[in-house]
Symmetry: C2
Subunit: 333 residues, 2 copies
């Protein structure tokens, strides 16, 4: 069945049925002019929003709709994680071409709600028609301990720069999906999964803010260089990155060989793995390791914050040039 | 200059400069992974979101960009008004074609901030590129007295149905802009203004909720019949509307004559004037008039809530048929 046969309001009813009942602190969810939220005392709210366009952020022909729904929410959950927050509500606005199959939408919603799990309530949105391609806009509201949010402007000279795990795999997966090189299925699969099903670092973000051991973080959506650059500009500092400390998976190394590129290109300029990049005062390093016990996160120190305003790269003790392409600019590329 | 020459981050800097500094209760505005909001005790938060697509909701050739920016925010402010809330933050996500003139965007942002005025802080968003046409997604966060939000599900049999002012003018203005008939400039001007520059009923909504005299409201975005229908379904009631009580402006009557249609067609099925439709218990009518003294709002009783589930229309004491086209369905029309 096409979405134009189902109609807007029947579609909303389907989403409503799938989204389930609201739970505290959501007082009123989907179905009114706005949702109602009753935040707890001692908490502040964090709000983020992201937009995904067909043909720019995703290709509908080559992305399973479930993965697209999943990722649409994850990119926002990752921003909440980067603030050290706990996500509560999601809002989903969809612009759809009227010839869209209802089954495709049902799969999209299924993936979206899978990413929401038990912790995030779908609480509203908008459904409109589009003349050319889908547009997906998601907003997430979360909360964080009062005064404990992780900010971009909180890096200080001498801080250790941590990365929450391997990055660049998503960019490698995308390059593979775009037929830029060939790979064995067993090597390509985890890269494609990194691209289609990234996992937001919510537990890590939450521990970083609640513990008070960290004040500064960002999620990597545009590549290590560009996202670290955002922190440096906001904090008026520079940074030194040690390439040999950046973890690379075997699959990424193999893909870089097949694509005939430097294996660090994807981590530095690729983005979309949604790892956290965060800054820790040297005196807090031991306490951090303690706080993260029990959390299965392979965090890795990859650099230090310095005076100045530039990012310098080192590999095995020797300075190396910074790649020219510094990440993604939506209007220029 | 084209937006692709300016680049994404320079564009964000321009918006940041125009949006100004955050004020309480906004702790952190544009520029981080998420914004931070510290709500006051005794208040609940109301959140709403709307999406506007080029070619579906607006024609860029015939809409001044300032008006488009203004209206993009107003449609959301109107939802906050319909909950009886006070808007605090706005989030603006824009998908733009890279050949967009920077001046057009500056005018859009100017109109958006004009609608925001002193009461709403632009606190975040996203800017992405679009392959075909603009997409605009806006989210607004507001607050409301704890437990006092105006809900669609709160109508009761015997309630008086109020309308906050003339409606249908926006639909008449749109029909004129689409060249469906001709009019003198002096007649067309207020209709076009109603379409391009609707005013959200924030003061009225706020008094209705804070006074405790009203529990049920909706804003008219899809026409009286469809929006009253939403209330009837949510509240499991029916309604009787008195057409002769619905205020019609001279310009609307003249336009209906020129278009050769029933003057009530636009108010009943047209929408987009963003008037409030709200329900008042009979015993509260006197107190309401008292509460609204000093507010320049020509509220008008136009019907009563009844048992059943249908909406019946009366004109000068006689029942008249309900027009077939009941409002807007995004996927069906």
């Amino acid at each position: 069945m096409k979405i134009r046969e189902l109609g807007e309001f029947a579609f909303i009813d389907r989403v409503l049925a799938a989204a389930g009942r609201e739970r505290t602190p959501v007082v009123l969810g989907i179905g009114d002019d706005a949702s109602i939220l009753a935040p707890e005392p001692g908490r502040e709210l964090v709000v983020t929003t992201d937009m995904l366009m067909e043909g720019v952020h995703f290709l509908r022909e080559s992305t399973p709709p479930e993965d697209l729904g999943f990722k649409s929410l994850v990119v926002n959950l990752s921003d909440i994680a980067a603030m050290g927050g706990n996500p509560i509500q999601a809002y989903l606005s969809l612009a759809l071409t009227p010839g869209t199959e209802v089954e495709e939408m049902d799969m999209f919603i299924k993936g979206f709600l899978e990413a929401a799990g038990d912790r995030v309530q779908l609480s509203g949105g908008d459904t409109v028609s589009s003349q050319a391609g889908w547009a997906i806009s998601v907003t997430v509201v979360g909360d964080v301990k009062e005064g404990a949010a992780l900010r971009r402007a909180a890096a200080a000279v001498g801080d250790i720069i941590y990365l929450s795990g391997p990055t660049g795999e998503s960019a490698a997966g995308l390059a593979f999906l775009l037929d830029q090189f060939s790979l064995k299925d067993v090597t390509a699969e985890p890269l494609i999964r990194a691209h289609n099903r990234p996992v937001p670092e919510l537990d890590l973000g939450s521990i970083l803010s609640e513990s008070g051991l960290c004040a500064c973080a960002i999620d990597i959506s545009d590549g290590l260089l560009q996202d670290l650059g955002h922190i440096c500009r906001a904090s008026s500092v520079g940074a030194r990155l040690f390439l040999d400390k950046i973890p690379l998976t075997d699959e990424l190394v193999e893909a870089a060989k097949a694509a005939n590129i430097d294996p660090y290109q994807w981590p530095l300029t690729g983005g979309e793995d949604y790892r956290l990049l965060f800054m820790i005062r040297e005196k807090n390093v031991k306490l951090l390791e303690e706080a993260l016990k029990g959390l299965d996160s392979p965090i890795q120190p990859i650099g230090i914050v310095e005076k100045g305003e530039s990012i310098q790269l080192f590999n095995r003790g020797r300075q190396v040039p910074v790649p020219e392409k510094g990440g993604h600019d939506h209007f220029r590329n």
